[in-house]
Symmetry: C2
Subunit: 281 residues, 2 copies
């Protein structure tokens, strides 16, 4: 998907919401697990995802399965991941699909990860960790219409351990990542992960990357504020994809879980519409 297509979808749907498909069988409603016990052909991870996707698709522009949740079930998890991506592609072709995998390795190995996510499984974007530098990232950049979403400043407490370390030139590590990576690709194939919990840093980040899309996790369960993120992070083409996982997909544990997920997604979408309106987008 191109940047223009993504922006058009945001304008049309009045939403920049990404629903995180962090599907954990320990947290899905009991009715899902009961069906799986009665019927061995019922695949609980995929079926939960399908219900959530059908319910939330009108209110979001992206889905983000986090690979950890799928890999934890080994081969069965990978089947569920691939089926989920295929389902979104077939039924909601305007959705931007992000494999939240946080990969990154030496060049020939990153090239294989790129093959995995952009050929074997046809997602639009993959999250990549920057620690190993340029040749660990660039193999993901050779695919037309595909995206790298590079970790910059994450939402967790551990982001303080290394990402905020200031170098001898007065630049913090996440700023160095933002600056150097711009020589590898432009705003048409590179986005950055910036946690919603990093409020004030958004202004610093926008000074370095005014045009790039930012993928923003940490709204909801992790405590970030949508208003603050928009105030400091939104640009003329929105420039934000804000993720919510647990607060939407586990909003209800009864048979009504999908309806309640849709209500929660719609609430977030309406807040986002107000932000877009205020910005004249």
């Amino acid at each position: 998907m191109t940047r223009e297509q993504l922006f058009t979808n945001i304008q049309r749907k009045r939403s920049f919401l990404c629903v995180g498909l962090d599907t954990d069988l320990k947290k899905v409603p009991a009715c899902i697990m009961e069906k799986a016990q009665k019927d061995t052909a019922f695949a609980p991870i995929f079926e939960f995802n399908r219900a959530i996707i059908d319910a939330t698709a009108p209110y979001c522009v992206a889905y983000k399965p986090n690979l950890a949740f799928y890999e934890a079930f080994g081969v069965k998890g990978w089947v569920a991941f691939e089926r989920t991506v295929q389902y979104i592609r077939a039924h909601y072709p305007d959705q931007f699909i992000i494999a939240d995998a946080k990969r990154g390795d030496i060049g020939n190995t990153s090239a294989l990860y790129a093959r995995t996510f952009f050929e074997t499984v046809d997602v639009d974007a993959v999250t990549v960790a920057p620690y190993m530098g340029e040749d660990s990232v660039t193999p993901f950049l050779g695919y037309a219409g595909k995206w790298v979403i590079l970790l910059a400043l994450t939402s967790n407490k551990g982001s303080h351990d290394f990402q905020l370390t200031e170098d001898t030139a007065g630049e913090r590590l996440f700023e160095r990542v933002l600056r150097r990576s711009q020589t590898w690709a432009g705003a048409d194939s590179l986005m950055y992960v910036v946690g919603a919990t990093q409020g004030a840093a958004f202004a610093d980040i926008r000074r370095i990357v005014p045009d790039h899309f930012l993928l923003v996790p940490g709204i909801g369960a992790q405590g970030g504020s949508l208003e603050e993120v928009c105030r400091h992070g939104m640009n003329a083409q929105c420039g934000l994809i804000v993720n919510s996982s647990r607060a939407i997909i586990y909003a209800d544990a009864t048979e009504r879980f999908a309806d309640v997920a849709a209500e929660r997604a719609r609430e977030v979408q309406q807040q986002m519409a107000a932000q877009l309106d205020a910005k004249g987008i």
Copy 2:
């Protein structure tokens, strides 16, 4: 596996070789692919690995499947990865199995990756990227006898982009990773990745982590020198696991590939035995 068991294996086998199972169907011998074409029940990735493992097991103490090579084949690749680990466990229980996955995410997500590699697939160690800090690493540390191998100073060119950046206290990022991570766990559950191409830096690293095991890729195809690594990196309990992948597993492309891989592994083992002898280990 405990540190003492690993050291005992190294002493007994006179080897600290890890064979990297970077199995790429574009590089395996033609005879493997021909068998797979004739017999759909013949699983080429697993069968190649089995032949390599049976041939090289006498000369190494560890195997390191790199997940990228398996994930590139999606579900089939994960089946091959799991079968490979099960095969090593069943037939060579004294081998240390490293999942080279370079994972790392926020706490609840890293906990799921830990479950994947230490429960669903029962490996001994997993490589982890440090960029997201303490809470992205510690969930992997709660398993008795299991190990985190944290990226410190990698073997690739991109290691210069961020890992060597000096902070205001005069500490380079990889040194900060070494120092801070020691407050998270000790030398009984934490190792570090240090590329064989980083020769002179081994001495600096040993000043910070004198006791820890280092996993050293980059010998062979990437150009690192075993002698130099041993001169600066070996400690009284060896403290090194040196990986070789392509130079061993793709040493020959004929039906004799496994025999030639064994010869190559034995040559490296003999060089290692000499290094251990010289150190009185």
